[in-house]
């Protein structure tokens, strides 16, 4: 089946202060998405300040020169819209989606906090409490919390930026100060370090005028130099295990380093397709073998990037597999079977139609995400930030479709046990 593509038009420009702007109009539904991405994430937080990038994201919602606390939320929602932000390894995003009549309001709100959030001790303490509850909900009070995104990096990486807990320790969060926040903003939240993207129902000329009106006088500050977080590949298999006192059943995750997603995109893309060949649906290699045939796993999934953002992550990153096992399940057996299947793929090749059907399904996934205005604004902002190529979003279905069997086999052949990091969950519930 022929793989279709989207042709979202893209306008790019840079304001005098260095802010990069991406506009991608589509007037088929009366809504707009606004995204601002800053080129700073978990990997840039200082030692002793784990979780700070995420805590700072919360502080960006606490008010700015012309916005009191709570005003941001009320103005977005009072325009019929929704908002959020998220902190990733390499970037932090802020976004709104609204009926199109709210576009200028959203730009005003983003520009106001780009000039600087209002940082107060009271708001800092309040948001430390909120973040601690977020960590309790998502990690401490539930089974498999933080598995594997917080558990695997310390097994696979040596250096603090890549290995540390991005949600942060309560100790580090509690000792965070206003001075830390001011310094973090000064250093990383420069408009030269940011991209603004707008998607949806607007006129390009009008939107350009609005962007200039609101962001034009944000003081110019250059982007800081971005460190290279590269680490050498694993020299041998690394393993770790921990007991999860809430988990009733065992689980295992493993990861392999993959080529630089940006500098070596052509080498990287086959790994993205391979991941789907291995784990997308009942007809994928590992689901068929481990879940359907051997019944050694209850579920198995695979993705690239610890937060599943395979086209918005920088080097170093990893291809991850994660499996939940039945009672008494044997993680070693699962890993051996994975090795066997990778070997069978690398040496035996793909079945007729296997690659084409995987690529067709990937096209659906990619296209489906871009149907929402934020599904265009957010990735385009990050792609502009990291690659200077927001149009990559339009090109992905085709590029995925051009990956060859030879490339898939070579990628599968590189996922050797001696290059792998493994983390195993020992069930501790009811024991």
């Amino acid at each position: 089946m022929k793989i279709p593509a989207t042709k979202y038009p893209i306008e790019r420009f840079t304001l005098d202060n260095g802010l990069r702007v991406v506009l991608t109009p589509d007037r088929s539904a009366p809504v707009v998405g606004v995204a601002v991405v800053y080129d700073v994430g978990i990997r840039s937080e200082p030692e002793g300040r784990t979780g700070f990038a995420h805590l700072f994201e919360h502080l960006m919602f606490q008010g700015s020169a012309n916005l009191e606390k709570l005003a941001h939320f009320r103005y977005v929602q009072g325009a019929g819209g929704s908002f959020n932000g998220s902190t990733h390894l390499d970037y932090t995003d802020y976004f709104e989606v609204l009926p199109s009549g709210g576009l200028e309001r959203a730009l005003f709100l983003e520009a106001d906090r780009m000039r600087g959030p209002t940082l107060t001790e009271e708001n800092l303490r309040n948001q430390v409490d909120v973040v601690k509850e977020e960590i309790r909900v998502n990690v401490l009070n539930r089974p498999y919390g933080g598995f594997p995104w917080l558990r695997l990096p310390p097994v696979m990486f040596e250096t603090f930026p890549n290995a540390h807990d991005g949600y942060g320790s309560f100790e580090d969060l509690e000792s965070a100060s206003l001075a830390d926040a001011e310094e973090f903003f000064r250093r990383y939240y420069a408009c030269g370090n940011a991209v603004l993207a707008v998607a949806g129902d607007f006129d390009v000329a009008e939107a350009t005028t609005m962007v200039e009106r609101h962001f034009g006088d944000v003081p110019a500050r250059p982007a800081p130099e971005r460190p290279d977080f590269h680490e050498p590949d694993l020299a041998g298999e690394r393993r770790s295990e921990y007991t999860d006192r809430l988990a009733p059943l065992p689980a295992v995750a493993c990861g392999w380093r993959v080529p630089d997603p940006i500098g070596k995109f052509e080498d990287y893309l086959p790994y993205v397709v391979l991941t789907e060949v291995l784990t997308d649906g009942d007809a994928s290699r590992l689901v068929e073998r481990l879940v359907q045939r051997d019944r050694t796993a209850t579920t198995i999934g695979g993705y690239i990037g610890f937060m599943g953002d395979e086209f918005q992550v920088r080097n170093p990153t990893a291809l991850l597999l994660q499996a939940h096992l039945p009672p008494g399940g044997d993680a070693d057996k699962v890993l051996r079977t994975v090795d066997e299947e990778l070997d069978r793929l690398a040496t035996g090749g793909l079945a007729p139609g296997e690659l084409a059907r995987t690529q067709a399904r990937m096209a659906t996934h990619l296209l489906r995400e871009t149907d929402a205005v934020l599904g265009r604004a957010l990735p385009m902002a990050a792609m502009e930030e990291q690659r200077g190529r927001p149009e990559l979003l339009n090109e992905l279905p085709r590029l995925v479709g051009e990956v060859t069997e030879e490339q898939i086999l070579a990628a599968a052949g590189s996922l050797r046990p001696e290059r792998r990091g493994v983390v195993e969950v020992i069930p501790g519930a009811g024991q």
Binding site: P99, S100, D129, E134
Partner: protein
């Protein structure tokens, strides 16, 4: 000079509904097709009435629906769907079996053909069913370790008593006892077109899509079964039910309140009252217990609609040490909204949010498909969006206050807390009568 004044909103254009077509096939299957070009894909939703179906069998059926037909294995089904960029899955709620999927728009015919095979010629092969049965048991076991699930189980039991909605997840032992032959029987008895609704949304021609559905599903026949669920009982307020979870670092706080269906004259006003109370971020409850006090991360409320009744549920995960104070603030905010009218400003903000989210929900194929399918299961069509928008636009401050007094009064609430009972029982007992319960 930077702008310091909030820009005005450009007023919304008139609500524009997408082009659609509808036909009820001779089998009794209703097909609704909606054109939303967007991306070159199509979304599929099929709702089959499943009220009062035996829970363990129905749950396993939903998990095993795609395990094979007379001519295709589970792997064949998945691979053939993938070939057109497609996938299908099934889920169960107390009213319906819901099949959900999508594919490249050009793959619609093939996806419908495969779906027809699954509906009309299911095999439920023993081996595959055994695999799915064990997986389901494992999933249930994991769910039973999750606080949100345990709290939900306890709340449903407390809300619904002996009504069929009281239990929505089967026990592992019950699932272990289900045989493939029982699934075949249940399928033959209940997976029928009469009363079912198929929704297709995407880059399609509505008429042609309906023709394709008619052609592919023409062989799916059989009269519907009476699966009507009796009306839900009224909530009976009483002591707070405390379910112990030793060592929990958070308590799961749940309150259920009465509500009305979407077509009730009070509904728009109730929805707005719920917004002002806790139904979105800029609500009193969230601003109080999160942004002021820092007790919690994501408190939220929602009006849950089932065919046989509606209810409003408020949920928050709060730190163990502030469980009492969190209940205090919750009762205070409910008391406040039930006793005093909201301000004009609060109401307008809630109104704009409610109207705006309708537009956002219609802006994607998946959003429209979910909306059309959900509405259809209550006998409504997408044009209900117009009616509901008008209701939201017209609701007065007095009506919203009346709805709040009628439905949101704290004296009407049914409350369940899951948490470390040794630590939270005394603080909760200072505020209300507490009794121990189980999930």
């Amino acid at each position: 000079m930077s702008q310091t004044v909030l820009p005005d909103l450009v007023p919304d254009r008139k609500l524009k509904l997408p082009r659609e077509a509808e036909r009820t096939l001779s089998s009794g299957l209703t097909v609704i097709a909606v054109r939303r070009p967007g991306v070159p894909l199509v979304e599929v939703r099929l709702r089959v009435p499943f009220g009062r179906a035996p829970l363990p069998r129905a749950t396993l059926l939903s998990q095993a629906l795609f395990t094979g037909t007379g001519t295709m294995s589970s792997i064949d089904i998945a691979a053939e769907l993938q070939a057109v960029g497609g996938a299908l899955s099934a889920g169960l709620d107390p009213d319906r079996l819901l099949i959900t999927g999508n594919s490249l728009a050009a793959g619609l015919d093939r996806m419908l053909e495969i779906l027809a095979g699954v509906l009309t010629d299911p095999a439920y092969p023993s081996e595959e069913v055994a695999t799915e049965r064990e997986r389901l048991v494992d999933h249930i076991q994991v769910a039973q370790s999750q606080p949100a699930h345990i709290a939900r189980v306890a709340l449903l039991k407390r809300m619904y008593g002996r009504h069929p909605y009281a239990v929505q997840t089967p026990g592992p032992e019950q699932v272990r006892g289900v045989r493939p032959a029982q699934l075949r029987t249940l399928h033959a008895d209940r997976v029928r077109p009469d009363g079912s609704v198929l929704v297709l949304v995407g880059d399609i021609s509505p008429e042609k899509a309906i023709d394709a559905a008619d052609k592919a599903l023409g062989g799916w026949l059989g009269p519907g079964r009476d699966g009507d669920v009796p009306p839900t009982p009224e909530l009976v307020p009483g002591p707070l039910v405390l379910v112990d979870r030793p060592g929990a670092v958070q308590s799961s706080l749940r309150l259920a309140l009465p509500a009305v269906p979407r077509t009730h004259p009070d509904y728009a006003a109730l929805q707005l009252a719920n917004m002002v109370f806790g139904g979105y971020f800029s609500s009193r409850w969230v601003e109080n217990i999160r942004e002021d006090k820092g007790y919690t991360y994501g408190p939220h409320t929602a009006i849950e609609h089932y065919v046989a009744g509606s209810a409003l549920v408020a949920s928050a995960e709060v730190a163990t040490e502030v469980t009492g104070p969190s209940l205090l603030e919750t009762q205070y905010e409910l008391g406040r909204i039930a006793s005093l009218p909201p301000s004009e400003e609060e109401l307008e903000q809630a109104r704009r949010y409610a109207l705006g989210t309708l537009r956002l929900g219609m802006s994607t194929q998946a959003g429209l498909a979910g909306l059309a399918s959900m509405y259809a299961s209550f006998g409504l069509r997408l044009d209900h969006l117009r009616e509901h928008s008008a209701g939201l636009a017209a609701a007065t401050r007095e009506q919203v206050f009346e709805a709040a007094a009628r439905y949101l009064a704290p004296s009407l609430a049914v409350t369940v807390v899951l948490g470390d009972a040794d630590k939270v029982e005394a603080p909760l007992a200072a505020l209300t009568t507490v009794e121990r319960g189980t999930a």
